[in-house]
């Protein structure tokens, strides 16, 4: 009896007193974990560096100095120099620009193609769904990096093509996720109601179903940005992604690796930047999932 009363009271309290919007509640829940605060701060720093690199960088990005090749950190060069005497801190800052944009745009491409595919397959079902899903099954059978390498062979290297290849590789992740969401959302009462009052298919899809699949899209995006940046670094390290003299982290590691016996700095420093970035996006993705996924609510 007591429990019933207290439950009604709490319920009444929320209904009357708090009109805080749902997204604000979600943000508050999100930042209850100090790790999420740190991870967000780190990512904001990366974004800040990416935007302000041309202003803040201590040296011109391609300035070479043969007398200062492969130096250890100093006041003049806080992270040391590479083989051509270029300032590593400067190159790292410019590299942030490329890596962050590759990550974001690749995920944008994946979502831009995958989400519509998933919506169409899930909403219309039938043979269309069957064909799309079988093709995606086959697509997923190709190991990520091998598929990306094959795509780069076809469309050629370079920043834009690397973004496209990494994005295309991640399309099935989104398509399958959104298809599953669409299948369950389209059977909910409000969709049936909209159908009953005569809403058209596009209206049902864009107005009623799409907004209800957005949360997993966001969670997946934060996890995919990290793996997209790792993929870019890996490709560039192999020498088949973005090419020197572009200062991406992968290129810097590759150039540094050839001279590792002389100086470890150029090979080691970009890895730290990569690790911190991916660690932060993974934390944020996991935390977002905890906060947004209703199934996990109350689990902790």
């Amino acid at each position: 009896m007591t429990s019933t009363i207290s439950r009604t009271q709490t319920g009444g309290h929320i209904g009357l007193g708090q009109t805080r919007p749902a997204w604000l509640t979600a943000i508050r829940r999100f930042y209850r974990d100090p790790k999420a605060v740190i991870a967000s701060a780190i990512l904001l720093t990366y974004l800040f560096i990416a935007v302000t690199a041309p202003v803040l960088a201590p040296h011109p990005v391609n300035e070479q100095d043969a007398y200062r090749s492969l130096q250890a950190p100093s006041w003049e060069h806080p992270l040391g120099t590479d083989r051509l005497g270029r300032d590593l801190l400067t190159r790292m800052m410019y590299g942030t620009r490329i890596s962050v944009s590759v990550g974001l745009i690749a995920v944008g491409i994946a979502a831009g193609i995958g989400v519509p595919l998933g919506l169409v397959a899930g909403f219309f079902g039938g043979w269309l769904d069957e064909i799309l899903m079988r093709v995606l099954d086959a697509w997923i059978a190709f190991p990520g990096l091998i598929l990306i390498i094959a795509l780069v062979t076809i469309i050629g290297p370079g920043v834009v093509n690397v973004m496209i290849a990494i994005g295309l590789n991640a399309v099935p992740v989104y398509a399958r996720l959104i298809r599953g969401q669409t299948l369950s959302v389209k059977e909910r009462d409000f969709v049936h109601a909209a159908l009953a009052v005569g809403a058209s298919d596009p209206r049902l899809i864009f107005k009623h179903i799409l907004p209800n699949t957005i949360q997993p899209v966001i969670v997946q995006a934060s996890l995919l940005v990290g793996s997209a940046i790792l993929a870019e670094a890996g490709l560039s390290f192999l020498g088949i992604g973005i090419r020197p003299p572009e200062p991406t982290w992968g290129v810097t590691i590759q150039e540094g690796f050839d001279w590792i016996r002389q100086s470890p700095w150029p090979a080691v420093v970009p890895g730290v930047a990569l690790l911190l970035f991916v660690l932060s996006t993974n934390f944020i993705g996991d935390r977002l999932r905890d906060v947004l996924d209703p199934r996990l609510r109350g689990a902790r």
Binding site: A138, P143, I146, A150, T153, V268, G271, V278
Partner: protein, 317 residues
């Protein structure tokens, strides 16, 4: 069980056909065809008429679906075409390298499953304990660390500084097992870090879940010792998701070995793939793409068979 195996094997056929079709039609997106690529690379003067005649002779003027069937037939009997760069049959090139990568990837997979499952069980049967907190922390870092960078750090510390392990090279385990182990220690660690971290995370969470179930409490209540509860009662039910994650690892191992083979100068498939990409040697790329996809389809098939072994109910569905 046999009926299950046969039915499941038949189901892989359409996937394999689709995979082969994507591989074949994907290369048609390339500008030009075999001949223009070949003569373009050779810088030989050929007239348009000569090209047309050659095209007809090699059947390149036939419709794409026919050529696909032709190609599929050749592939099924192990004829993968000729490398544009080495001018050797692709099958010979691949055969030399495949053994190395298979050794490397399988040893890493076994190590991953062993380490991941063992750590996961210890962490998952005492959630919140010191070991659990430590192992979970390490696993979080393990999945975020780029494997080729770990490989570089390992070389810096264990090869260049301490001199315990060689920094590069490959020795076949059949020729000299001891020397092979010395050469493989660092690459296997670097390639396996991500895999064992994710297997550990999966094993941990499925043990945490299984250990709260009633039948486990019953077993504990009737006095079965903890070791048997974990290894006999909990194990079977906790292993299903672990098998799934381990099968996923095969894709990760194939991708990861490309990078690790580059760092340690291991003469495997990854090395071949990178060289082929640089030279746009697409018959080689095509073959590697196809073979790696087949390996993954096979891994998923094996995982399904393992499910049925672990959980007999699955056989009768």
């Amino acid at each position: 069980m046999w009926r299950f195996l046969v039915r499941r094997a038949v189901l892989t056929i359409p996937v394999l056909l689709l995979v082969s079709a994507i591989t074949f039609f994907g290369t048609l997106l390339l500008p030009g065809d075999d001949l223009t690529t070949f003569y373009g690379a050779e810088d030989v003067d050929v007239t348009a008429e000569q090209l047309a005649a050659l095209r007809h002779r090699y059947g390149l003027d036939r419709p794409a679906p026919i050529r696909y069937l032709d190609w599929l037939g050749d592939t099924l009997v192990g004829d993968f075409g000729t490398s544009l760069r080495a001018k050797e049959p692709v099958a010979d090139l691949v055969r030399q390298k495949l053994g190395v990568t298979i050794w490397f990837a399988s040893i890493t997979l076994v190590a991953n499953v062993g380490v991941g499952v063992a750590l996961g069980i210890v962490a998952g049967t005492r959630p919140g304990g010191k070991f659990d907190v430590g192992a979970t922390f390490l696993a979080t870092w393990g999945v975020a660390t780029p494997n080729f960078w770990v490989a570089i750090l390992l070389i810096l510390l264990f090869s260049l500084k301490l001199g315990w392990f060689p920094a590069a090279g490959w020795v076949s385990p059949l020729e000299d097992p001891l020397e092979a182990a010395r050469h493989m220690a660092l690459p296997v660690f670097a390639l396996g870090l991500f895999g064992s971290a994710s297997i550990m995370r999966q094993t941990r969470s499925s043990f945490v879940e299984v250990m709260t179930q009633d039948y486990i409490r019953t077993a504990q209540a009737k006095g079965v010792n903890q070791r048997n509860v974990v290894l006999r009662h909990a194990m079977r039910n906790a292993m299903i998701p672990v098998v799934t994650v381990s099968a996923f690892q095969v894709a990760g191992l194939v991708s990861g070995s490309v990078l690790i083979e580059r760092v340690f100068a291991i003469p495997g498939i990854g090395r071949l793939a990178v060289d082929a990409t640089v030279f746009r040697d697409y018959p080689v790329i095509q073959t590697i793409v196809l073979l790696s996809a087949v390996a993954i389809v096979a891994a998923n098939f094996l995982a399904d068979v393992l499910y049925a072994v672990i959980d007999p109910r699955i056989r009768y569905e």
